[in-house]
């Protein structure tokens, strides 16, 4: 299977946790980071995730490709925020300390502080998701969805999607090559509308054959009595160990702290300007 989700199999304490634990932890962690803009809290989270990366034995070069994407994305997002609302920080913190410049695009310390918060927020969420992707076996992922209460029919849809992505990718590639052999131009040499048209020449056979595939798979599943019982077991499902429970408690605490800080600050923002 082509490794699109970048799962890296290495013996480490994080790999040994069950998929369900890691999923719950990532969700709790992201909620904790999402809900608050408290700078002190957001500054601790990236440090914690770097520590976790150390424990998981995932190296920087393993994720450098994905990090590149995300870094570019973070920079663009920050630039966009500044271009569209250079005074957002002032609206949030209520004061204005101009560093230099004047008018709408004057650089204020409030705006800079807001950007710092935004950056910290990305940094507290993105590494942990990367860690989750690198340490969770995709097959176990579907089983863990069912474990946290998602209906097994839906968990099975996710499992099917993960199973058939490589197949469909290969089929897309095959059809694309066949159509190119028949003279379809897909490269940058063609105009955009021409390329869209050629894309549909690939898309239509792909979709129609996928419809047949749906028919075949659902017949096979029906023959085996899928969906007859209320529950099912999973080949990749595992029981929780003590480490699993500890991790979940820890992440629940993080969420608790985040909520508590919001309550203590009286809003989602920590304001050093008053």
């Amino acid at each position: 299977m082509i490794n699109i989700f970048n799962y890296i199999d290495r013996p480490s304490p994080i790999h040994r946790l069950t998929g369900a634990t890691k999923l719950i932890c990532v969700l709790l962690w992201s909620f904790a980071a999402m809900l608050t803009y408290d700078t002190r809290f957001l500054a601790v989270m990236p440090v914690l995730s770097v520590l976790l990366f150390g424990v998981s034995k995932i190296k920087l070069k393993d994720v450098s490709f994905m990090l590149g994407f995300t870094a570019a994305f973070m920079v663009l997002n920050n630039v966009m925020v500044f271009v569209f609302s250079p005074q957002h920080g002032m609206d949030i913190y209520g004061t204005q300390h101009i560093l230099f410049g004047s008018g709408r695009y004057a650089l204020t310390s409030e705006q800079l502080f807001y950007h710092l918060n935004l950056l910290l927020k990305y940094l507290s969420m993105i590494p942990i998701v990367l860690l989750f992707i690198c340490t969770t076996n995709p097959s176990e992922f579907a089983a863990s969805l069912n474990r946290i209460g998602v209906k097994y029919s839906i968990a099975y849809s996710v499992a099917l999607a993960l199973r058939y992505i490589p197949d469909i990718q290969r089929e897309y590639h095959d059809i694309s090559q066949a159509q190119q052999a028949r003279g379809i131009e897909m490269s940058k040499k063609e105009s955009l509308s021409k390329r869209l048209k050629s894309a549909s020449a690939i898309l239509i056979p792909l979709i129609l054959s996928s419809m047949d595939r749906i028919e075949t798979i659902s017949n096979a599943m029906e023959l085996r009595g899928f969906g007859k019982n209320k529950k099912r077991t999973w080949y990749m499902g595992r029981r929780f160990s003590r480490a699993d429970i500890l991790c979940m408690v820890f992440c629940a605490l993080l969420l608790g702290i985040s909520l508590l800080l919001n309550y203590l600050n009286g809003s989602r923002f920590f304001n050093p300007f008053i």
Binding site: N6, F69, N77, V158, A159, A161, I165, L203, G227
Partner: protein
């Protein structure tokens, strides 16, 4: 909730896989971040018409979540949820279409395109920015600029790619009642 048929479950899985492959490998980036000219919404619209709003919601949600995970950011839940919302809305708006029986005439094309535009404008112009404000407290102006660009891009791709797919599917499918008993 109504129990899914096995076929719907499989359609959700394969639909999400298709959504993923199209979104991940056939994307043309636009100048605004988090915003691709994405032909997968044409596919989503087509699958929604065939399999109904709930299937559409799950295909959008699962497919979009997988795309985000594979890029490694995996945190823009507001946009992932919006893809799901589009599935529901579009499914309800196009409930009357009978594509599964192989009928997709001029009037149906019109319904399909108009429903697509309306649903995309609601989703990316209102649902996604509002969720972004609630979750991330980002400035409104930027979010609406992003939303507007995606609404336009997605409406166009839905109208072109989605319609092409529906027409091709209807042509490949024998019409309901096309067989006649011989006298």
């Amino acid at each position: 909730m109504k129990k899914f048929s096995v076929k719907t479950i499989v359609a959700i899985g394969i639909g999400a896989a298709l959504f993923f492959v199209l979104g991940r490998f056939v994307a043309i980036p636009s100048p605004v971040p988090n915003t691709n000219i994405s032909i997968q919404y044409g596919l989503l619209a087509f699958m929604t018409v065939l399999f109904g709003p709930i299937a559409g919601m799950l295909i959008g949600f699962i497919g979009h979540a997988l795309i985000d995970f594979s890029f490694g950011w995996g945190v823009w839940w507001s946009w992932v949820i919006t893809s799901g919302v589009f599935g529901i809305l579009f499914g309800i708006a196009t409930k009357k279409l009978r594509l599964a029986d192989g009928s997709f005439g001029k009037k149906d094309i019109l319904t399909f395109i108009i429903a697509g535009v309306i649903c995309h404008v609601i989703c990316w112009g209102a649902v996604a920015p509002v969720l972004d404000i609630v979750i991330y407290a980002e400035p409104i102006e930027k979010l609406f600029a992003q939303g507007l660009v995606s609404a336009i891009a997605n409406s166009v791709t839905t109208a072109i790619v989605g319609t092409l797919l529906c027409v091709a599917y209807a042509a490949a499918k024998p019409k309901a009642g096309s067989l006649k008993e011989e006298e």
